[in-house]
């Protein structure tokens, strides 16, 4: 299944809960303010890096670009675009947009 996170990890606990429940083989897509979780050097970097070892983690590039964060993308997170977003949704049977 695909988990979609759109909140900053510093503002909401949706990423924490998602990472707790996500299972091997699931995918995680960071969009909107959720992309801040994909930045190098943040307090949640280790947490996200660990997630990258268990499942695929993606970040939406237009949202990274818009926030000036693309150059800070951490290793292990794959950038994707809107077409890639659609592909991810299509590829997974279930999507959960965490609020």
């Amino acid at each position: 299944m695909l988990h979609i996170i759109n909140k900053s990890p510093f503002d909401a606990n949706s990423l924490d809960s998602c990472l707790r429940m996500a299972q091997p083989g699931h995918a995680l897509l960071l969009i909107e303010d959720g992309i801040y979780a994909a930045a190098k050097g943040s307090a949640v970097e280790r947490h996200v890096a660990e997630a990258c070892t268990k499942f695929s983690v993606f970040a939406l590039q237009p949202d990274m670009d818009a926030r000036g964060m693309t150059s800070k993308l951490m290793d292990g997170v794959t950038l994707t675009d809107y077409a890639g977003f659609v592909d991810l949704v299509e590829k997974h049977n279930t999507s959960h947009s965490w609020l």
Binding site: S17, R20, Q23, N93, T94, S95, H96, S97, W98
Partner: protein, 131 residues
Amino acid sequence: MSEQQVPAPSGPTVKKFMFVNRKAPYGTIYALESLEVVLITATFDQDVSLVFIDDGVYELVKGQQTKGIGIKNFSPSYRALEGYDIEKLYVDQASLDQRGLTEADLLVPVEVLDDRQMGELMAQQDVILSF
């Protein structure tokens, strides 16, 4: 007499719907809106599960008295869900623990799940709606 057109027989499509509740009850409208959508979904005879994670577990706490804040206490509705054949209520163990709550504090019977069980249950759904 002309023959009446009979619609082709087709079984109803039943999908697995999960409603994920992660907000406390009265500070925002999410909890109430979720409950309304759940009841609507139930009338279409779908396979409905409710899960309560993070502050969503506060929706099920016994003894809510809302007179003083002038908002309708909708917590009794969770007890009425059984009457709509909604009997799959799941609560996240860690969220209860963090808040000093146990199953005994809740106003309906629930199944308490750990992280892995909750993740696996989500992956089995056709549709997940988050509130």
